[in-house]
Amino acid sequence: MNVDWLNFTPWSSLAGGALIGLAASLFVIANGRIAGISGLIGSLLQRGSEGVSEKALFLLGLLIAPLLWASFATLPQIEFKNGWVGLIVAGVLVGIGTRYGSGCTSGHGVCGISRLSPRSMVATACFMFSGFVTVFILRHLLGG
């Protein structure tokens, strides 16, 4: 294994993670809800969901975070690696996969593991595994 020390950002990643954990903690302590982004978006797409305003306001906060950031500092680098075909295929897979799997990196990976849910641990292992395999195939087998 060949670690890219040059791009390794342990402190900002730890601090950013802690902030994510703080946000998830606030949402569950105050609102009694899991900060799972795919679940929040998915439920707003379905008719007759409860708590629409709270869910929408959480997502609004998430949406305007870069605007708040940009008013104090330069936004961090956002580098895309795909053309539109890759983005569409990836987006559809992420959309349908997170709904069938009842969660994503936030709901399973952060909140689920934090409440020691076996379902979330299995889900996280599954999407990490297929993520690693997919990048390996695309970058090293197909040489993309």
Partner: protein, 139 residues
């Protein structure tokens, strides 16, 4: 009050994603590229998030309502079914292609990049497709 806490939680979540590097698809893909020049940073995002959230979420499991009096709505499902596993595997493939998961997809939407908009619309289409397939199944 719960509206305000929801908004602040979302805002903090987004700032955390930006600070952590999770909102940069190139960095996410570098984390998923074990055989290449591997950037382990994002493992620390999970470590930091879980270290902070494990206490509050453990507390939440024992409560029936939140501090602001809202019902505690934690998932109750226990079984490891094919939907959980198949769905999560599928999600990982999409994540591995573009390096974007749902949280960052929202957090980068207003940064003015066309890629963020294309990804978001496709993700929403995938979710709508799920809802359509589910409602057909239940009829």
């Amino acid at each position: 009050m719960t509206k305000l806490t929801a908004f602040i939680a979302g805002l903090l979540f987004g700032l955390g994603l930006l600070l952590a590097g999770m909102a940069n698809p190139g960095k996410v893909l570098a984390f998923l590229d074990l055989a290449g020049a591997w950037d382990p940073s994002l493992a620390l995002v999970m470590v930091g998030a879980i270290a902070v959230a494990i206490g509050p979420l453990t507390w939440a499991r024992r409560q029936s309502s939140s501090l602001l009096g809202r019902p505690m709505q934690l998932p109750i499902k226990r079984e490891l079914d094919p939907r959980l596993i198949g769905g999560s595997l599928l999600f990982g493939v999409g994540w591995g292609i573009a390096g974007i998961c749902p949280g960052p997809a929202v957090a980068i939407l207003l940064t003015g990049r066309w890629q963020a908009i294309v990804f978001m619309l496709s993700m929403l289409a995938g979710m709508v497709l799920f809802t359509a397939l589910e409602s057909r199944r239940s009829h």
